[in-house]
Amino acid sequence: MRKIILLIIVSICILFVSVFILPKFINPFNLDDTGSQIIFSIRLPRVIVSILMGSALGVSGAILQGLLRNPLADPYILGISSGATLMAAAGLIFGKIIFGLFTIPLLAFIGAISTGIAVGIMGYKGGGLLPERLLLAGIGIGFLFSSILMLLMSISADDPYGLIFIFAGFLLSIWRVKGLNALILGDEIAYSLGFSPFKERLILFISVGLMTASSVSLGGIVGFIGLLIPHIVRYFVGSDCRFLLPSSALAGGILLCMADTIGRTIMSPTEIPAGIITAIIGAPYFLYLLRRKEIMGV
């Protein structure tokens, strides 16, 4: 409990720093016109978007690691982010003709789900999903889509309509959180506890699709949050997804917000993409995790 309070306090500090201090201090108690404009039209929206994206990715990672019972699963590694981005890019190129305002997030959602299914089919062998095959298939598809994307453009759709998808996805995952806990114990035990493993997996997968799609249509691909955050959070709150999912949302949001703030500060006015900062923090931690055997038994 003390650790959770610590996490919340740290989060509030980072929020305060991101909105008022970096890259240039603005006194919240003595706001002039320029200052309030910077805070309300530039920094606050950006902070909100980075928090929501980070939350979506953190929760998605926690769900995927549980669903696949694999500590390496996350939307980026499984290629789901790339699939979503590719479709979002297609939406940008062809315009908002199909689903109106929600064209980009919906296309991204379709991209996420269909990539997930494709990776699942490739990872399926001998009556079950093989984790190694899944990850390899995900990495392969991710590379393929990323290279197609590079041909198309460097994408950051900046589309705000996907925000609602994050909340929908998060609520779905909280609704089925007991099912997720049970699936972590294995399909047979989940079944014995009264769950339908297929149904639980489907709903949770859709929630991951929604969250990944909206995060991609808000700000493109950001790696490592989904992989990294659940592991950090497990250290604080344990594996019970009733605590893990909300805490991953909080921690993911805060990490991305922090990375974004650092990214727009250290070489100001030039901005470094938040994805690079998260990878700089994330990669060493990932290697450290590999050294620590007790984390999810790998």
Binding site: R69, I184, G186, E188, G194, S239
Partner: protein, 246 residues
């Protein structure tokens, strides 16, 4: 008519027949040991009985109603199944994992997670992460979860594997007590023939068929075992603990 009836069920996968025309009727308060060589169909039989697998032929009725007509939660209050392999690598705390036994319930039953943990002797470790426990302790955690689930039929696939002899005996004693008090039925796949003497009734499975059933001292005989396990057996009096553990 028993509480769980398997009528002439057959199950095959990839054209290989695992269960052939098998019928079993389980009654309330029965304490059954399932013997058979590896690959004889013991595990498949338990999974079919739990509803995890569906037979291609025959029917399975729970309280005179087809097993697959039950809603998940309703079924979970009547039958629980514990697989042989418990490969879990997420660092759940003991109390968290055991509490999942309450998932089928909206109104909580009488037994509390703490009591279930005490029944398997893990009270001191209730806040430990299960990744820190030994294989035997982990199994006891899952058994506590199963007990908390409170179903009247327990289908346990080799629950005695990797338990110390002390806990093998204690688990049997615990389950028999529950049978005496609550009239639960237990079907347990066994790997140790000696343990068969602790059961009221033993079924021997071979090649997906039930080749014998009856009281242990009738069943544990040289010829039958030779047939079931393809080995030469001598039944020795020294390792013949006819009297069940009290």
């Amino acid at each position: 008519m028993g509480i769980l009836d398997l009528k002439k069920i057959s199950f095959s996968y990839n054209r290989e027949e695992f269960i052939k025309d098998l019928s079993i009727s389980l009654n309330g308060g029965e304490f059954i040991g399932l013997l058979g060589a590896n690959g004889s169909g013991k595990s498949t039989l338990l999974k079919l009985s739990a509803g995890i697998l569906s037979p291609q032929m025959g029917e399975i009725n729970l309280w005179n109603k087809p097993l697959h007509h039950y809603k998940g939660k309703d079924r979970a209050k009547l039958i629980s199944y514990l697989p042989q392999m418990l490969d879990i690598n997420a660092p759940f705390r003991v109390i968290e994992l055991v509490s999942m036994g309450l998932y089928p319930y909206d109104i909580l039953p009488q037994l509390s997670p703490e009591e279930a943990i005490e029944m398997v002797g893990l009270t001191e470790k209730k806040n430990s992460s299960i990744t820190e426990l030994s294989g035997g302790e982990r199994r006891r955690v899952f058994i506590a979860m199963t007990l908390l689930q409170g179903a009247g039929i327990l289908l346990l696939d080799e629950p005695l594997a990797n338990l110390d002899i002390k806990y093998q005996i204690e688990l049997i004693r615990l389950l028999r007590n529950l049978r005496d008090i609550k009239n639960i039925s237990v079907v347990m796949a066994l790997h140790d023939i000696n343990m068969a003497f602790q059961f009221d009734c033993v079924y021997i499975v071979k090649d997906g068929r039930l080749i014998a059933s009856g009281e242990p001292h009738e069943i544990i005989a040289g010829e039958l075992l030779k047939d079931a396990f393809d080995i030469d057996v001598t039944i020795s009096d020294i390792f013949h603990p006819l009297k069940p553990i009290k």
